[in-house]
Amino acid sequence: MAAPVSTVGKPSAERLPLNTTSFQKKTRTKLISIPGTRPSVQNGQLLVSTGVTSLDYLLGGGLAVGTVLLVEEDRYDSYSRMILKYFLAEGVVCRHELFVASAQDNPDDILQELPAPILDDVAIHKPVEQPRLSCEPQDSLDAMKIAWRYQNLPKVQSALASSSRFGHYYDVSKTMEPEIRQAAKCHRFYLTEHPTQSPPTHSTMLESYSALLKSLQEVINSEGFDVAAPMSKSRNILRIGLPSLGSALWGDDLSCHDNPRNGHALATFFYGLRAMLRSSLAVAVVTVPSHLIQDRALMGNITRLCDNAIALESFKGSERETNPLYKDYHGLLHVRQVPHLNCLASKLPDHKDLAFKLKRKQFTIELCQPVSTIGCQKSKVKLLTVA
C-alpha cells in the first residue's frame, strides 16, 4: 500500500521503549492502525518487520506493505529458508495471516519448523545508546587500564540495528509451540495437489504460476485484503512466502537450461504478483535459486521486477570457508536492489560488504570486519560504523 499513514498510533510492542514521547499527532482522518506495522520515518510508508532486525535496518526500517522481497538462495538453501521462516514466524507473532506456496516441501512441514519467539521483553541485543550510569561498580574501571577515559562512552556497534524495537527475536533451536502457530490463519498452496491442466499455448506463463496467482487472488479478495474493500472491518496484513520459486519442480526450465524455452514465465509471474500486491495489504518474500539460473539477463529482469532484492552467498563448500577473514561469519549478503516507492531516488545502503551470521537467538548482518591475523586472536580492528 503506497498511501502514507498519517496517524502515529501507539507502538505495537508490549512495552514502550524509553525514548518515545507521549505526543500524538492530531489528525482528522481516522485510519485504523494494523498491529505489527508502523509508518516509516523516511517516507511515511506502512512497514512490517521481516523478522530479522538487521534486515529491517538494511531495508530502511522494514518491508513496505505491498512490495516484494526477493531473496536469491545460497547454494544449499539453508539461510534463505531461514529468512523465510523468520518472516512467517513474525507474521504469527504479529497476528497477521499467512500464505505459503511450495512445490517441493509440503507447506505444513514448513509451518511446523518455524522458530520459537523469545517472548520476554528484555531485548537480547540492546544497542547501547545511553552512556553508562554513574552508579556503576568501581571495579569496572579496571576494565580499561590505559584508555580509561573512554569508559563512559557508548560502545561502537557493528551489528546493524535501529534504535527502537520493531521486530521480535527468535530462538532457532526450538520450534514454535503449536498453540501459538494455530492461532494464526494460514493459507496453503501445494503444487502437487493442483493437477496440471492442458497448457494454454498462447500465454507466456506456465500453468503452475497461473494457478498460484489465481489462488492468491482468491485469498486476497475473499479475506478482504484488497485496499478497495470496505474499511468497516478490522484490517490485517497477508504475508506471502514462496520458497524456491523458479526451481524445476514448478515446471520451469529456467534453472535447467542455458536458453530456456519459456524464459519469461517467471518474469511474467513477478509482474502479475507485484501488480496484485500494489492494490492489497500484503507483503511477499520469494526465494529463487539464482545460482542455477545461467541467463544473467533474465535474472536481472526478475531483480528489476521485485522491489527489494538481496542475495545470500554462504561459505559452505566454497574456498572462502577457510579464509581467515571470514571465519566469524556464515556467508556474505549482497543487496541487489533497493525500492523506490513514490520517490525518484532511494536510499542506497552505505556499506557494500555485508556478512551474515546465524546465531541461535539472532540472525545478524554486519559489516565485514578485517581480523588482524598476527598477534592475539581476539584483537579486531573495528571500523567506525553507523549507529
Binding site: Q104, I146, A248, G251, K316
Partner: protein, 292 residues
C-alpha cells in the same frame, strides 16, 4: 561418510553419484547395489547404459534388472523399457511387480540418459514424486556431470539428499569422493574420502582427506615464525613479568583520581559568553560596516 551412505541407514534418501569422463562412477554404483543386496533388500535397476551381464555377472534373485539397454527409445515393436516410461505411473507399476513387503531400492544407470530425452523439469517432478510417494526406500542414480548444462546438473543435485562426486585420485587405483549430505533439518555436511574398490565390490577407505596437493604448501611457507632466530630475547621470565606489572606508568592515575575525572561536575569548564554589539557582523550585508 562413504561407509555410512553405503550402509543406507536413512530411508527416503536420494543419492546421486556424479562422475565425469576422467573417472567413472559405475564401480561405486555397483558397490551400492552390492551393499543393498547384502542388506536383503530388493533392488530394481533401470539399465540404460550397460547390459545386464556387464553390470551384474550372474543373475541374483533379488536384483530386478529392467532392460532399457537394448531398446531405450522404443524403435522396435516390443521394447522392454523405454526412456519415455520414466514417469510415476509406469514406475509404480514396475515396482509393484515384486511381492517383497519392504519397499525396494531403485538404482538408475544412468540419469544422464534419461535427461537427454526427457525434459529436466519432468524428470525432477518424477524423482520428487518417487521420494514422497514411499514406493521406494532409496534411490541411487548415476549422473555424468560433464554431459549436461550446469543448470541441469545443479537442479537435479538440488533434489538429492546426498551427492557423491568422484574424481581421479593421486595414485592409480584410488579415487576421491567428495560427499555433500543435506539432512532434513537443513544442515549440510561435507566430507572427502579416498577409496578403492576391491574385486568383490567392497569399498575400502584409504585415508580421509589427505590433501597433499599444493593448496597447503603455500600458507605453510608464509607462516614462518619471525621470532624464531633472533639474537635478542623477546620473552619475559616470571620475575621480570612481576616487575613489569608493578611499575607505575607516568599517566596512570589512581582510582580516585580516575573517578573524579570521569564523573566530573558539569560546571567545571564552562565558557561564559555575552554577545557583544561588534559580534553582529553580517558577512552578506555590504552596508554593515557603514558608520552611519
Amino acid at each position: 561418510m562413504l561407509t555410512e551412505l553405503l550402509q543406507g541407514s536413512d530411508a527416503g534418501g536420494f543419492i546421486i553419484i556424479r562422475d565425469s569422463a576422467s573417472c567413472s562412477g559405475r564401480h561405486l554404483l555397483k558397490s551400492f547395489i552390492n551393499a543393498a543386496l547384502n542388506r536383503e533388500e530388493d533392488v530394481h535397476v533401470l539399465g540404460f547404459e550397460v547390459s545386464e551381464e556387464e553390470l551384474k555377472g550372474s543373475p541374483v534373485q533379488r536384483l530386478h534388472f529392467h532392460n532399457a539397454y537394448s531398446d531405450p527409445l522404443g524403435w522396435t515393436d516390443k521394447p522392454t523399457f523405454t526412456v519415455h516410461q520414466f514417469c510415476m505411473e509406469e514406475l509404480a507399476r514396475l515396482l509393484k511387480q515384486t511381492s517383497h513387503p519392504k519397499p525396494a531400492t531403485l538404482v538408475i544407470d544412468s540419469l544422464s540418459w534419461i535427461l537427454r530425452h526427457v525434459s529436466p523439469p519432468a524428470v525432477c517432478a518424477t524423482l520428487h514424486q518417487l521420494r514422497k510417494g514411499g514406493a521406494v526406500r532409496a534411490i541411487v542414480a548415476l549422473l555424468h556431470g560433464d554431459m549436461h548444462q550446469r543448470g541441469t546438473v545443479g537442479s537435479v543435485c538440488h533434489l538429492a539428499s546426498s551427492v557423491i562426486t568422484v574424481a581421479p585420485g593421486m595414485k592409480g587405483g584410488d579415487a576421491v569422493a567428495k560427499i555433500t549430505k543435506r539432512s532434513k533439518s537443513g544442515k549440510v555436511v561435507q566430507d572427502e574420502d579416498i577409496f578403492t574398490i576391491n574385486n568383490d565390490l567392497t569399498v575400502v577407505i584409504q585415508s580421509k582427506h589427505s590433501q597433499v596437493g599444493h593448496k597447503q604448501a603455500d600458507p605453510e611457507e608464509q607462516e614462518m615464525d619471525p621470532t624464531a632466530h633472533l639474537t635478542f630475547n623477546l620473552r619475559l621470565s616470571n620475575k621480570e613479568r612481576e616487575a613489569k606489572e608493578k611499575l607505575a606508568l607516568p599517566f596512570v592515575f589512581s582510582k580516585e583520581k580516575k573517578t573524579a575525572l570521569l564523573h566530573s561536575s558539569p560546571g567545571s569548564g564552562r565558557i561564559l559568553y555575552e554577545p557583544d554589539a561588534n559580534d553582529d557582523y553580517d558577512q552578506e550585508d555590504p552596508d554593515d560596516d557603514l558608520d552611519v
